[in-house]
Amino acid sequence: MSQPAIITEGLSRAFGGLLAVDHVDLRVDAGQFFGFLGPNGAGKSTTIRMLTGLLAPTAGRIELLGLDFERNSVEVKRQIGVVPEGLALYERLTGNEFLTFVGRMYGLDRATTAQRTSDLLDFMDLADRSKTLIVDYSHGMKKKLALAAAVIHGPRILFLDEPFEGVDAIAAGTLKNMLHNMTGHGATIFLTSHVLEIVERLCSHVAIIQKGRIVAQGSLDELRAGVAAISHVEGATTSPAQKLTLEEIFMAVVGQEGVVRKSEDELAWLK
C-alpha cells in the first residue's frame, strides 16, 4: 500500500452556527491524482483552505506527508504548492519578479530561482510577457502564472482550485501534461473542478463532498461499483456500472432526482 500524502481526521470548520465542513476523513496516497468534487457551497473551498493553511479548522487534524500540519506548518508548507481560488498574486510585480519573489519565499537560492523562473515562464508561454505587470495579464495568463508559482519549489503535494477555468485549450493540454508528469515523479495532486469531464480524464481517485460531509470516496471504478450496487438495490434502470460517467456518479450521489423534481414543480410563474 502506498504512503499516504494527505490524511484528515474529523476535519471540521464552523462559521458561527453553520458547520461548513463536518468531520471530513480523507486519505490521499502519494502519487495520486485526486479529484475533490461537490455542489456549490458543499465545503470544497473551505476544505482546501484548511489543507493549505489559509483557514484554521475548528476541530480535527490534518497530516500532510506524515507531518501534523498544526505542529509543523512551516515545514509542511515548504513541501506543498497551491493555486488558490483567488490566485494570490502580487499584481504590481511583473511575472518574472513575482516568480522570483515566490522562489525566494520558499528559500530557493538566487541561481536556482532565476533558472526555474526562466524555465517556467518559457514553459507557460509567458516568456515574452515576463516584464509586463501582472495586473495587465489576461485571466488565463494569471492562472498559468499562479500555477508556475505553485510548482517553482518542486512541491510534493499540489493543491489546485479550479486550475483550468479561463485557460485556453492549448494551454490546458500543456498543463495537464505537466501535472501527469509530476504525478509520474511521485507528486500528489489534489484538484477541485466543476468540469467533471476534466476530473474524469485526469483523476484516478475522487471524493465527493455534500453539505460538509464526504458522501463518496475511492477510485472511479470503486465509485461506479458503489453507485451500480445502490441502483440495483433500488431497482432503478441506470447504465451498467462500467459505463457510468463521473457525471452520472456525481448526480446519483448528490441527488439528481431532487434537481429534476424542483425544476418541474417549482417556479411555475416562469412558464
Binding site: 489559509l54 494570490a88 498574486l89 502580487y90 519565499m105 536556482t112 526555474r116 524555465d119 412558464k271
Partner: protein, 578 residues
Amino acid sequence: MAEITNSSAVAKPSPLALQVWLVVGLRWKTFRNGLRSKSETMHLLGTVVIGLAFTFMTLGVGTAIGVGSFELASSNQFQFLIAILWGIFLFWQFIPVLASQVNPGFDGRNLLRFPLRFSAFFLMNVAYGFVDPFALAGMFWHLTMGIGVTLARPDLLPWVVFALGGSALMNLIFNRMLFAWVERFLAKRRTREILGALFILVAISFQFIAPAVQRWGGSIQQAVKTTEVLWLLLPPGEAGVALGQAASNDTLGAWETVGLLAVYVTVFAGLFAFRVHAQYTGEDLGESAAHAPVTRKLPKARAAGSVPATVTTGQAPVSESASFASRLFNGPVGAIYAKEVHYLLRNSILVLNAFTPLILIVVFSMNMSMSSGRHGGRPPTSLNFVTSNLLYPVSVAYIFLLVMNFCPNNLAYDGRGVERLFMSPVKFRDVMLAKNLFHSSVIIFEALLALGVVAALGHWPPVRILLVTWAALPFAACVHFIVGNWLSLQYPRKFEFGMRRQRPSGLSVLISLGLFFAMNGMLAMSAILSLWFGNLWVLAAVYAGLSLAAITVYRATLESTSSQALRQRDSLLEQLAR
C-alpha cells in the same frame, strides 16, 4: 424553444421615489451589516472621534462666518461676503479632492442591472453629495452666513434664500460634476496615477503661497484688482454680489445675478447629467486586461509535453533559513523587502508621499530665510537658532511622520497577495521584519537626503544636534513599529494602487495620532529640558539608551506577531483578499 408566456408576470416600472428609497435602504443595510465585524465597529468608533473634531471645527468656523456676516451686512460691506464665499467654495470643492480621507465616491453602476430610471440614477448621484462631510460643512456655513445677514438686514431674507440657497446648490452640483469628471479620468490606471501625482504636487504647491505672497504680494494684489470684474462674474461670489445689489436697492441687478447663478447651476447640472448618462447607458471604464500574443511559439519543453526539468527532478534545494543573516538577505525577508521596493516605486502616490518632506524642507527654509530678511538681513538670535539648529531635526520629524503613516496598515497594498504569505513557509515575524526594515531604510535614506538639502541651503546642524536627532530615531521608529505591527494585523484595510481616496481604520488613525503626539511631546519635552540645562550630549545619551531599550522590546514583540497573525488570519484574509 421555451418562452415566458405569462406577460402579466413581467415587472412593472416601480415609482421613482420607491427606487430611490430602495437604494437608500441598501446603503443602510450594507453599513449596518458591516458593523457585524469587530474591526468595522472599531473603525466606526475611530471615525466618530475624528468626526467630532471635524464637527467642532465646522461649528467654530460657522459661528465666525455668522458673526462676520452680521457685522459686514450691518456696515454694508457686502463685497467681503464674496471673499468668504470664495473661501467656502475652495474648501468644498478642492479639499475633498486633495485630502486622502474622504468618503469613496458613489458608484451606482452595480445598480444598472435593475430597471432603474435615469431620473432615479441621476438623483441618487446628486443626493450622494450630501453624505460628504465637506459638503455638510459648506452648507452649514452658507446657513450661518444667511442667518448673520438676515439678522442684520431682515429685509434681505428673500434674497438670502435665493442667492445663498442657489450658491449652496451650485456648490453641491459643481462638486458632483467635478468628481464625476475626475473619476472619468481616474478610471484608467496610468491616468489615475499621473493625476494622483499631480494632486499631490498641487497640494505641495500651496506651501509656496506664503513665500510667494511675501515676495510678489504687491504684484498679486494688482493682478487681482485688474481682474476684479472677472472674479465677480465667476460662480462662487455671485451670491455675495446679488446680496450687495439687493442691499443697495438694485433689484434688477440682483435678479440678473441670481439668474446668472441659475445658469451656472443649469450648466453644471447638464455637464453632470452628461457624465451620469454615459454611466447609465453602460459605459465601461474598466481596465481591460492585455491580450495574449496572437502568435504562439511552442517551446521545446511544451512541445514534448514535459515539465521543466529543474522543477520536477527532485525537491527544491530549500535553505533552512534558520539564521537571521540568511533570512535577511537570501530568504523571505529579502524577498518581501524587494517586493516592497517594487511596490513603492510603482505607486506614484506612495512615492510622492514619501518624498514630499524633502520638497517641504526647501519651503521651510524659504519661509525662514524671508522671516530673517524682514529683520534687515540679520535674523534675531532666537530665529537664528531655529534656522541653524532646528531645521534638520524638524525636517527629520516631518519625514518620520509621513513615512510612518504607512506603518499602522502595512499590509494595505498586499491585497490578495496576503494569501501567498499565509501559504508560504514563512512566519509573520519575517513578514513584519521585512516591512519594518523597508520603512526604516526609507527613513534613513530620506534623513540622509534631508541632511544634504539642509546643508545645501546653508543650515548644516551642529554635531550635537545631529547626534541627538539620530539617537532618537531608533527609539521613535521601534515604538511606531511595535504599535504599527499590532494595528496592521488587528485592523487591516485594503488599499488600491494609485487611489487617493482611501483611509485606514478609524481606530488606527486615532491610535497613531495619539502615539505621534505622545512621542513627539516626550521628545520635545526632553529636548527643552536639555536645552534648559545647556547639555545636549546628555540628551543624546538618554535617547541612545531609550533606543536600545526600544530595540530590545521590539525584538521581543516581533516574535508575537506570528501568533497574532494566525489568530487574526480569518479577518486579515476577509479584509485584504476580498
